[in-house]
């Protein structure tokens, strides 16, 4: 591997000191960018051989610090491992390298009338290897489920450099224990997937997208409750609050969301074309009942794409408002959304922080976005305290500390809000089975043991 692909110059390493979560900065010892699976395995063997930890990194778009280097580590980047190895329309499977960008697989699958369902908002940039590590979701996981449902097999390099194959569609249902299920969502702590086998779905015959405009987030949340109570199963149910709408509408991804709205609700139905219009009519009625000021729907591809671009780029668009941003991630039971939101906004106000909200309302997955300036130490401390209180509120409401962004370094300190010591010990033991010396992404996910 040439000098272009092994980075040790401290100045060059600066660009790797953060991922999508910028409150933490830690440069690694070195960054290695293997171009083949063999190179990757060699690198892991060599680095682990020296007892040096490895931090896997895809596109560095994660929001919990999963790809943040740990002190004295070597980052192994998968950007160059970006080949789609096979696409098998008959069996609806694809086999990819970990550095393939999520939406690129979508584009290739579409040529065969297929799609890859998990659609994280960063899908235009994030890699499938990263999706496997974080068990990523996305707006459409309400109906389709998260990444784990679509990973049928993995080739992984484990601690020390052993290469093993897990699962495989041909062996489905899995004989023995479901190691693929364990590996997906392991946040880079078990190993690195070198090849990923994914399931693809046929493209739905019809899609309808509905946009409801509301005076408040509470009204929009009531509409969501109504739609679900009707027994409807939308593919996605998304809410954006006024602050998020205004940021998006000021960006290149402006989609025509009204900037004076208190909240926008996006509802999407897909599937067999017959019956979709009826579903839309029922959802429209729910919106009106909840006090929508305007409801529109469309089956136009261009308009749908614009609406979704606006929704998915809302995080990045926040850069227009403040230099730094923490995208929080938590879940609550859907019915408790309105009250939890109210409490979250109150916490923001109490700590004098600007908070904007986008969330996957259908599965109760909240993303409060806290805006701040990292150069203001006092503000940074308030962000930290407000985050903890927000997590506590969600847990108290019967939810948990992450819906889809992972624990990484950002949520470690909240793990004990939801997990007991025995459970944490079991997780640690499982990790030890894959990576006995703890040299993959150490110090992430699991909290420091309680002092005796």
């Amino acid at each position: 591997m040439g000098p272009d692909h092994v980075v040790a110059d401290p100045a060059r390493l600066l660009v790797y000191e953060s991922d999508g979560l910028t409150q933490y900065r830690q440069a690694p010892l070195a960054v290695v960018l293997p171009g083949t699976t063999d190179e990757l395995v060699e690198v892991v063997r060599a680095v682990h051989g020296e007892g040096i930890p490895v931090v896997p990194r895809g596109a560095g778009t994660g929001l919990s610090g999963g790809a943040l280097p740990v002190e004295g580590s070597v980052v192994v980047g998968t950007a160059r491992l970006n080949r789609i190895l096979a696409l098998d329309p008959e069996n609806r499977l694809a086999r990819v390298q970990p550095g393939v960008v999520n939406s690129r697989l979508g584009v290739e699958a579409r040529r065969h009338g297929l799609h890859y369902a998990p659609d994280p908002s960063s899908q235009s940039a994030c890699t499938l290897g990263g999706n496997v590590a974080e068990n990523s979701g996305g707006p459409h996981c309400l109906k389709y489920g998260v990444t784990s449902r679509y990973i049928s097999g993995l080739t992984v390099v484990l601690g020390g450099g052993a290469v093993v194959e897990l699962g495989g569609a041909a062996r489905d249902p899995a004989t023995g224990l479901d190691l693929v299920g364990l590996f997906v969502g392991s946040e880079g702590c078990f190993g690195i997937a070198t090849e990923i086998e994914v399931r693809l779905l046929p493209l739905p015959g019809g899609v309808r997208t509905l946009l409801g405009i509301f005076a408040s987030v509470e009204d929009a949340a009531r509409a969501v409750t109504g739609i679900v109570a009707q027994g409807l199963l939308p593919a996605a149910l998304e809410i954006m609050d006024g602050a998020s709408i205004r940021a998006v509408e000021a960006s290149v991804y402006a989609a025509g969301y009204p900037t004076d709205a208190g909240a926008a609700l996006v509802v999407e139905f897909d599937g067999t074309d017959a019956g979709l219009d009826e579903d839309v009519a029922r959802a429209v009625a729910c919106c009106r009942e909840a006090g929508a000021t305007d409801v529109q729907h469309t089956d136009d591809e261009g308009q749908r794409t614009r609406l979704w671009q606006g929704r998915k780029k809302a995080f990045g668009a926040m850069g227009r408002i403040a230099p730094d941003l923490l995208v929080q991630d938590a879940t609550v039971p859907r019915t408790r959304l309105p009250e939890v939101l109210e409490e979250i906004m109150a916490i923001g106000a109490r700590y004098d922080l600007h908070v904007a909200n986008v969330f996957h309302a259908g599965d109760g997955n909240l993303h409060p976005k806290i805006l701040f300036d990292r150069s203001d130490a006092d503000e940074l401390a308030r962000v930290e305290r407000a985050s903890r209180e927000m997590m506590q509120v969600c847990v108290d409401a019967g939810g948990t500390i992450t819906g889809e962004h992972g624990v990484g370094v950002d949520k470690q300190k909240y793990m004990r809000l939801v997990h007991g010591e025995e459970e944490l010990a079991a997780m640690s033991a499982v990790g030890g089975a894959f990576d006995p010396r703890g040299l993959f992404n150490p110090g992430k996910v699991l909290p420091e043991p309680e002092p005796a």
């Binding site: 960006s251 990045g316 850069g319």
Partner: protein
């Protein structure tokens, strides 16, 4: 203040423009260098992070890291239209290049070229020699004779670029067949805007035929084209190359020259120049000429843009297949996507096929093929492959740098496809339609 501090300060003045980057990474897949190298230091986000580190005093602007990665950027600005935060990457890059160049002189070819193009006699001599090498066939001979490795690679590519600026004669043999007569033309428009044409440096020296075609096509569409003696350089090369001082000097001259001409529009047929001129007020920010620069910038139009606004007359049929590639400085910097297609639509019989990944840089980027032969060569080879896959006779692109880059790539492969500016094709169509007086038929 130390030298490092002063240079950091130059970037720090633009800190409010660095601030909107929230490190989301959505720009990574849009960046041709990141996509090929996989190193985040070669991504827009990484480069912005390096600029931020200079501002924070954590990175020396004379360091290898800063120089190499800022220099390796193509400046294609494909990251701008995908950035949700609207980071003004192009403007920041120009400042970063200037800071890097002041901290440590750039590579010799860049320095030489900027020096040569900074003075009128320099440009005239350089482009005169270039035209001589091309017209005598020496450039073509050299491109064929030199080997494609080691120190010869850059020279060979440079000569191929020169040779590729020859007029492509391929259309001469393509004639309209029976039933493809020119449509009845309504009376030609007479009350178009008064326009002046930037004849430019490279354009005037090597692509005078494109300037001629531009003037004819504009007149045929009713424009009153004002002759502008003594074509200057707009400063785009210097602004993109890290010499803002010279860029500003050249820009001031052009602002005066064109404002004095008192025209409705300044028409530019080189996308790189148009992008810079539309941002003259940015370049001359804080300068006494700033408000004049703004007044001029608002009058600048790309020739495709103006023709599309006017609704170009339809000419006579020119049956051919045309591959269209978007110049980055037209698409990403000026946001113009449809206009060249509208121009080609006025040529009956021209079947337009968009090059796959037409939104991606061809690797031209000034003299990138010479300063970065390896990477520029890879990016160029990918573009040539996409162009050839369209199975067209000719590729149309509205920027001299792209015309030369793609032209050189095709030439070195011995490929028969020609390269034209979109208005050249419209010009052929107009001539066949008899829109021009015979004596002007040049």
């Amino acid at each position: 203040m130390s030298e490092v501090g002063i240079l950091g300060q130059a970037l720090a003045e633009h800190a409010d423009r660095l601030m909107p980057c929230v490190h989301c990474g959505f720009c990574l897949p849009a960046c041709p260098t990141y996509v090929r190298l996989g190193d985040e230091a070669d991504s827009p986000r990484g480069r912005l992070h390096l600029m931020g580190a200079v501002v924070e005093g954590r990175l020396d602007p004379a360091s290898d890291a800063f120089r190499v990665h800022i220099d390796r950027c193509l400046g294609c600005r494909a990251c701008e239209p995908v950035c949700p935060s609207g980071v003004e990457y192009g403007a920041l890059l120009e400042v970063a290049r200037d800071v890097a160049a002041r901290a440590r002189p750039p590579a010799l070819p860049t320095r030489l070229l900027l020096r040569i193009f900074g003075s009128r006699p320099g440009r005239a001599l350089f482009l005169g020699v270039g035209a001589f090498l091309r017209n005598t066939g020496l450039a073509s001979l050299g491109a064929r004779a030199l080997p494609g490795w080691g120190p010869f690679r850059s020279a060979r590519f440079g000569l191929a670029m020169l040779a590729s600026t020859e007029r492509w004669e391929g259309l001469r043999w393509i004639r309209a067949t029976e039933g493809q007569e020119a449509p009845e033309d309504p009376a030609p428009p007479t009350t178009g805007p008064r326009v002046a044409l930037l004849t430019g440096c490279v354009q005037e020296g090597l692509y005078d035929r494109v300037n001629q075609a531009t003037a004819r096509v504009l007149e045929a569409n009713g424009c009153q084209v004002v002759a502008m003696p003594g074509g200057g350089c707009c400063g785009a090369l210097h602004a993109h190359g890290g010499d803002l001082e010279t860029a500003r000097r050249l820009a001031r001259t052009e602002v005066r020259r064109f404002l004095d001409a008192d025209v409705d529009h300044v028409v530019v047929n080189a996308a790189g120049c148009g992008a810079t001129m539309k941002e003259y007020d940015e370049l001359l920010g804080g300068d006494p000429a700033e408000s004049d620069a703004g007044a001029l910038a608002r009058r600048v139009r790309d020739v495709n843009e103006l023709l599309a606004e006017l609704g170009p007359r339809t000419g006579a049929p020119v049956p051919c297949r045309v591959a269209v590639d978007h110049p980055c400085h037209l698409l990403h910097a000026q946001g113009i996507r449809q206009a060249p297609l509208a121009v080609l639509k006025a040529v009956p019989g021209a079947e337009v096929r968009l090059v796959e990944d037409a939104d991606e840089c061809c690797g031209g980027a000034g003299i990138y093929g010479i300063t970065h032969p390896e990477l520029g060569g890879r990016i160029g080879a990918d573009k040539v492959r996409s162009v050839r896959a369209t199975e067209c006779e000719v590729v149309a692109t509205a920027n001299p740098g792209c015309m030369m880059q793609i032209g050189a790539g095709l030439r070195l492969q011995g490929a028969p496809e020609g390269v034209m500016h979109p208005v050249e094709l419209l010009d052929v169509s107009y001539r066949r339609a008899g829109f021009y007086d015979e004596e002007r038929d040049g």
